[in-house]
Point group: C2
Chain length 312, copies 2
């Protein structure tokens, strides 16, 4: 599980920061990728990565501002052109379906796969299967702007089949009983308690990706105990009045959310083009005074999200 930042800019593209898009790589988990926002030129950014459009299974749009959605029709068309034929689900605020359908229709783009649309109109769960659960919450950005909390479900411990074989447990239905935690007796008289041969539970990871927002208690609620929190940081804190006026956040506000939410790591993105490289290092440094584990993202930064018992 990795987060790949395709675009980390804000509003208008800059040479060093393209418009918003993030890919959550779930190759080990489900052999697919989920995309969050799709600013113009996202498909061009992808050309410099190993991302394959046909592997994209879900696209979540946080809000309808152009710098977050104008890359969508092109990406969807190219996904078809490059052989994508599996269905895709698009989640986003009301209007996203009309935008995509109209763009595809007027441009005569005929896709060879179906698109399922989920338009969000209230806070709550938007997706669940046996691996993941995703909830959305509306933030504060003037227009509807959502944050997404992606919760990987805890995995039960695995049965230690290797060890059982060494003890002489024959292949077959006994393994099923042991897995349920029952005790069995072998022909040679050995008693084996299944509970002794089940590995530790694997705790799932939590990734919270917020759309554009000013500082908000909703952000803190949504991000609670996240392993990774992705928060916009359009402005430096000296420009906090601008941030407030334009419904955006500063680096320090983002750090405050991470701290209050008890998050593990904070990734800052959506950086205004007015700030140069030195400013962005300063942005990172001053956020760290409040929340140590803060990192400024750049285009093509990839962050791995290890399981709790993996090396960090």
């Amino acid at each position: 599980m990795e987060l790949l930042f395709l675009g980390t800019g804000s509003g208008v593209p800059a040479k060093h920061r393209n418009l918003s898009s993030i890919v959550l790589k779930l190759l080990d988990e489900r052999n697919s990728m989920w995309m969050f926002d799709c600013g113009e030129s996202t498909q061009q950014q992808i050309l410099n990565t190993t991302v394959k459009p046909r592997k994209i299974e879900k696209i979540f749009l946080t809000h309808m501002h152009g710098d977050h959605i104008f890359g969508l029709p092109g990406l969807l068309s190219s996904r078809a052109f490059q052989g994508g034929d599996t269905p895709l689900t698009i989640y986003g605020p009301k209007g996203i379906k009309q935008y995509v359908m109209m763009s595809l229709k007027l441009s005569q783009s005929h896709l060879r796969y179906g698109i399922h649309y989920v338009e969000i109109d209230e806070d709550g769960m938007i997706f669940e299967d046996d691996q993941f659960l995703v909830t959305a919450k509306r933030l504060q950005h003037g227009i509807p702007s959502y944050g997404y909390r992606i919760v990987e479900k805890d995995r039960k411990g695995e049965l230690m089949a290797d060890k059982l074989q060494q003890l002489g447990v024959p292949f077959g239905p006994l393994y099923g009983k042991l897995k349920k935690g029952e005790t069995i007796r072998l022909e040679d008289g050995q008693e084996i308690d299944g509970r002794d041969f089940i590995g530790p539970m694997q705790k799932g990871r939590i990734v919270t990706i917020l759309g554009d927002t000013k500082f908000s208690e909703k952000s803190i609620e949504l991000a609670e105990d996240s392993d990774i929190l992705v928060h916009e940081s359009t402005f430096m804190h000296k420009d906090k009045d601008l941030a407030y006026r334009y419904n955006h956040s500063t680096n320090v506000e983002a750090a405050t959310v991470a701290k209050k939410a008890g998050a593990e790591k904070l990734l800052l993105t959506h950086i205004s083009a007015r700030y140069l490289y030195a400013d962005s290092k300063q942005m990172e440094k001053s956020a760290r005074q409040l929340f140590e584990n803060t990192f400024i993202m750049n285009d093509f930064t990839e962050v791995s999200i290890p399981l709790k018992n993996e090396e960090r």
Copy 2:
């Protein structure tokens, strides 16, 4: 007057060729630029040039395929963000107005300038002022796809005011008479014939930019006597069956059009991503066997279009 190629690819973007867009720079002529097509990431390409979005006065779309229009909403938004406040005219096939208006509305983009839409539904003149005349003609691409012929009007010779001053002609209404070709008599008795002091007529230039098309007689008609013909060359001639099937042209077909139209120079663009650099050199070479003055365009190639009496 220069033509700047922002994107020279076809269908899907490649690392070395972005999607279609060309800028006709008219800085000396009218302190503005005209754009032809606006594929996704055109505004990002512009960041590597001296083009200022606020200088763009007119945008002509050849047809509604996504690789020619998906960059338009983003470019229009950034034009506003970067201080553009002068009105803009968009020319294109039926549907372009709905596409732009809906994209801007759903993305809550509020521009500070007006957009005038001219939807073309038949061949003919679409713009004329005292400098330029633009006609459109439908080509053969399955869906409506237009070519644009931009004709610069001939300029009358200028009055040689410097020489007249040296002869002692006083500032004032006499210059008006001389300009009309009348003869005047000065106080010192000199007779001056205006016709002797009017410079040569300046012949206007003709630039023809075609949208996607298969080989077509309409292309030849539209491009007649052009100084510059921009023609698509999606395929190499060995793939001419593919070209025909997909309503596109080969390099040799483009050269045939240039030759039959009596054009001065042929610029090939809209090159399929399947061809690598060596192929594209070959594409140029084999077109030159038919039409010597042929050039393959690359992203950021700039071609100047000199006046007839300037050095070429």
